[in-house]
């Protein structure tokens, strides 16, 4: 296998340090791909839930009925979308404060908005989870690969120095083996960087929608608070 100079032979004959580097890079690549797929699914689900909830919300449905639907959904152990969670947090706080009575409408409004902000940041955190890992893989794996390459080339030059007759055949396998490390680093980094950029822009657009919805919903609550005859 060593004679035919293929990648497997090279990896099998590489020095321990280079093999370790390759192992790390492999693990990083696998993990980053797990993240890529998982984030992709999560973001898709979030977008889908967001659109369907927006549709229902603007269909002129009664808000308390919408809230009850969500509650029954949660009882059935079904996931509720991010936007729905914000709505539920704000609406629950609003109703609770209103039912207590004797509370200033400003305070009711402020409480509802605070609850929605909390829910918003929780949702944002959910969406952005693991994206930093992708960013780290994207920026660090080329360096790890480079490290492996440098070590491999160092080793091959050391072995070259001990040879009486320096020929390309002595150095070539070592350098090829070292370059495999760089290749693996790039192989791990490129998808990670692409996915990170793509996903962070998607997260931005989704959270943008969330905050817009928050504003709209609080304006609805505001209207409801002031249009209804105060007791």
């Amino acid at each position: 296998m060593g004679e035919s100079l293929n990648v497997w032979g090279l990896i099998a004959e590489a020095t321990t340090a280079v093999q370790l580097v390759m192992l790390i890079l492999m693990a990083a690549s696998v993990t980053s791909w797990v993240m890529i797929v998982q984030r992709w699914m999560v973001l898709n689900a979030a977008e889908k839930g967001m659109f369907s909830f927006e549709k229902r919300f603007w269909s002129g449905m009664d808000l308390s009925q919408l809230f009850r639907e969500g509650s029954s959904k949660q009882k059935e152990n079904q996931a509720t979308g991010g936007m729905e969670n914000i709505f539920r947090a704000g609406f629950k706080e609003f109703m609770r404060l209103r039912q207590q009575g004797g509370i200033d409408s400003e305070v009711v409004m402020g409480g509802a908005q605070r609850a929605m902000r909390v829910a918003y940041s929780r949702e944002e955190e959910k969406l952005e989870k693991n994206l930093t890992f992708l960013a780290t893989v994207g920026s660090v794996t080329p360096y790890i690969g480079l490290f492996g390459t440098v070590i491999g080339i160092m080793n091959s030059f050391i072995s070259l120095a001990s040879q009486a007759q320096a020929s390309l055949q002595v150095v070539a396998p070592g350098i090829a083996e070292a370059l495999i490390a760089t290749a693996m680093g790039l192989f791990a980094a490129i998808p990670a960087v692409v996915a990170y950029n793509r996903y962070s822009s998607r997260v931005d657009s989704i959270t943008g929608n969330y905050s817009t919805f928050t504003e709209e919903f609080s304006s609805i609550l505001h209207r409801q608070l002031y249009s209804s005859p105060s007791k």
Binding site: W8, M26, I36, V37, Q38, M41
Partner: protein, 279 residues
């Protein structure tokens, strides 16, 4: 509340993806190695084809031997033919003489004596003639036998000579076998040196053959280089010539047994041919 995460699916997907990539790499590698085996760039080597001088000498000797034998045979034939012609001529002369004699006698008898006596005379003459013819024939026979004997003798001699030559040749071959390895080593050295100094011109093509004759001193100095067989490309011939001239002295040949040197390296034929060229 169950939060959607999809980790199991994504782990499976990721592992599958990497497995596929590795598999693809594996197969491509195999294909690549095969391809590499086929399209491996030929190392451009400038080779001198080994020319074993001893073999050549033996060949030359054999050639000479066969030539000599052929010549001998031809001479033998010529001699035989001459002898045969000689014999025929002698016979003819004798017969003519006899006829003349008979005619003279017949004339004398006619002139002097009667017919009976003449007839008897004639009979006698005829008898005599027959006797003479008989004698001639016997002589011819004898001569032919002699001829045959001589021929056999010659054949025997020739055979003996051939046997001797064979014996000599085999003895020489035995000597050569003890020498052969050394000669091979020396000629390998010469080839290496010349090859190192040979820079092949770009006009060289596959199938070009240039044969050079080198005359050397026992010190290894090159006395003379001569193109015996041109490759048809002047630059190629020149390059081969200058390769030998650049070596100038084969110092390794110094201290060689002088007889061996004379036999094998005094004049040496070197064959230059480019090999492994793509075009």
């Amino acid at each position: 509340m169950r939060v959607f995460n999809g980790y199991p699916v994504s782990i499976i997907a990721s592992v599958l993806f990497h497995g596929l990539v590795l598999l693809a790499l594996f197969y491509f590698q195999q294909a690549n190695t095969e391809v590499i085996d086929i399209v491996r760039p030929p190392s451009v080597k400038a080779l001198l084809v080994a020319e074993n001088p001893q073999e050549k000498n033996a060949e030359l000797q054999q050639q000479r031997e066969t030539q000599r034998v052929q010549e001998q045979r031809r001479e033998e034939q010529r001699r035989q033919e001459q002898a045969r012609a000689e014999a025929a001529r002698v016979q003819e002369q004798q017969r003519q003489e006899a006829e003349q004699q008979a005619a003279q006698e017949r004339a004398v008898v006619q002139q002097r004596q009667e017919q009976e006596r003449r007839q008897a005379e004639q009979q006698r003459v005829v008898q005599e003639q027959r006797q003479r013819e008989e004698q001639q024939r016997r002589e011819a026979e004898q001569r032919r036998q002699q001829e045959l004997a001589a021929q056999q003798e010659a054949a025997r001699q020739e055979q003996a000579r051939q046997e001797q030559a064979q014996r000599e040749a085999s003895a020489a071959a035995e000597v050569a076998r003890t020498e052969a390895e050394r000669v091979m080593a020396y000629s390998a050295i010469i080839h290496d040196l010349v090859q190192q100094n040979w820079s092949r011109p770009p006009s060289a093509r596959n199938g070009m053959v240039a044969v050079l004759r080198i005359r050397m001193m026992p010190t290894g100095d090159v006395l003379e280089v001569e193109v015996v067989q041109s490759s048809g490309d002047f630059a190629f011939d020149r390059a081969a010539e200058s390769a030998v001239l650049r070596v100038r002295r084969f110092t390794e040949l110094q201290g060689m047994d002088i007889r061996m040197f004379d036999r094998n390296f005094r004049t040496l034929l070197l064959t230059f041919r480019p090999q492994d060229l793509l075009n």
